[in-house]
């Protein structure tokens, strides 16, 4: 469990425990309860169903958009982009 993985989240390097999903890395290591903004109300969304059914947790990984963060294992060097880029810490 001591192994770690470093990923980039919206341009910022984050180190997380190995075995984390991207969603868990965002929540636990990046301290972000939400990372997606909705189309109409620009509402904040994060993990909801947690099992790949609701599509609320979508992120862009290595340039590929609309992937479910709850299903992706975080891997070394992964580039994660969220639709909340630049909207943190409000």
């Amino acid at each position: 469990m001591s192994q770690t993985v470093t990923v980039t989240v919206d341009g910022e390097e984050i180190t997380t425990e190995a075995g984390r999903t991207v969603a868990a890395a965002l929540m636990l290591a990046a301290q972000r309860p939400a990372w997606r903004r909705t189309r109409f109300d620009h509402d904040r969304r994060g993990l909801f169903c947690g099992i790949g059914v609701c599509f609320d947790c979508l992120v862009t990984v290595n340039g590929e958009p609309a992937l479910r963060a709850c299903l992706i294992p975080a891997e070394e060097g992964m580039v994660i982009e969220t639709s909340e880029r630049g909207a943190r810490g409000e």
Binding site: M1, E17, A18, G19, R20, T21, A24, M27, L28, P33, A34, T38, R39, F40, D41, D43, R44, R45, G46, L47, F48, C49, G50, I51, G52, V53, C54, F55, D56, L58, N62, E64, L67, R68, C70, L71, I72, P73, E90
Partner: protein, 492 residues
Amino acid sequence: MSERRCDVVVVGAGPAGLAAAVQASRAGAQVLLIDQSIRPGGQFWRHAAEEHDADPGRWHHGWSTYTALASELQAAVDAGDVEYLCGHHVVTAQQISPAQQIGSAQLQLTIQPVPELAAGARGLMTVRAPAVVLCPGAYDRQLPVPGWTLPGVMAAGGIQAFIKTQGVAPGRRAVLAGTGPFLLSAAASVLQAGGEVAAVCEAANLTGWVPRGAAAALVPSKGAEGAEYIRLLAKHRVPYLRRTAVTAIHGEHRAEAVTLSRLDSNGAVIEGKQRYLDDVDLVGLGWGFVPQSELVVQCGARTRVDVDGSLIGVVDVHQRSSVEGLYLAGEITGVAGATAAVVEGRIAGRAAAREAGYTTGGARQLAAAQRDKVLRVNHRAFAQAMHRAHPLPEGWESWMQQDTVVCRCEEVPYQRLKEAAQTLSAQEPRGLKGTTRTGMGWCQGRMCGTAASCVARRSGAEGAEESAVAVAKRPLAAPVRLADLAERDPSA
């Protein structure tokens, strides 16, 4: 598009699917087991990789059943009797028309690698087989509540899945709310992971529901499991509040507090009986489970509405659906939990192998089949009693606000849905879809389907089943990129 054939295809590697694959393989059938996760186990036995969690069993019930099934699966895979295709989902399922039949194959599935687990390769594949066992499992049933789109609000099952795979809770202090014994299981997981549980809110009254009652006596393990949760909750002084619901979730940028309301005998909010609970950063919601029925509907198999309101596939004593060669096992035949699913999986696996021409004889096998028949009946009886004790609250709309989002994907507020239902005579979910886009987003109505069909039915005349089928009608069971569809061979 590549194509493959085998004797029996099993869809889903949860409790039912694992049991079905192992059983069909024992009978001698060549099995293809398709599952969307990286590791077998389904939602119930979802776990981390061995190198990240040396003792995954600590989060689970019936873990020894899982390890026995998983090791038998592995042996069958090593022997070349089972092909285990993990990280793939089924996009479509259909009967092969007699004119197009080649050999004994009766059913055809289109499958694809799950995009999140496969960088690059996404080609669709066709699988044909004489027998298919669908074990698609279920996900948490949801009812909307003001504030449920705030970060920190999750499906109760999602919280447990997070803990089972990550080893920590996705929040510090949780409230679990909804109905059903699963809330206790989710609360227990939070406590076990070192989190706090401020309250478990059960909407039902539970009068007349004693875990040691007549139905529970048929399934002693369930009674014991329930008692274990109650003990754990008592030890941590977690209040188990009956006839209570979370009727609003508050917070600026994330969940921070909840309003708890007492419910009347119809499940409607009693005004003046509210309580504010703050210092909460995790809210888990669950109103039972919704079986994943779209593949069953796609195949044209007969369905019905179960006592809990779920759309389920109709099966005979051999788990056979109304469609030739199509078998169903687990939650899709009625939500009854993992132990029941394993039993049904075994029955379906045997029957599917038989359909493909592999008969199992011998006194021991016959005795095992006979035992499973009895177990199946007992589990069903228990599940029915459980569902009756935990109905969806008839009066849930009493906690809705005009602007409460019902459809999370398309951000459709309650008011717009009501107006559409009343004035546009969109008196069924499909009509509501067309006028309000409810259920048309990414999740295809999986989160809002229950609420939408309640609202539509209340103002319309449509029956429960028609309404449930309308929600479950999804031409594709998973989103497919246009590029992948374009790659598809039109003759297949």
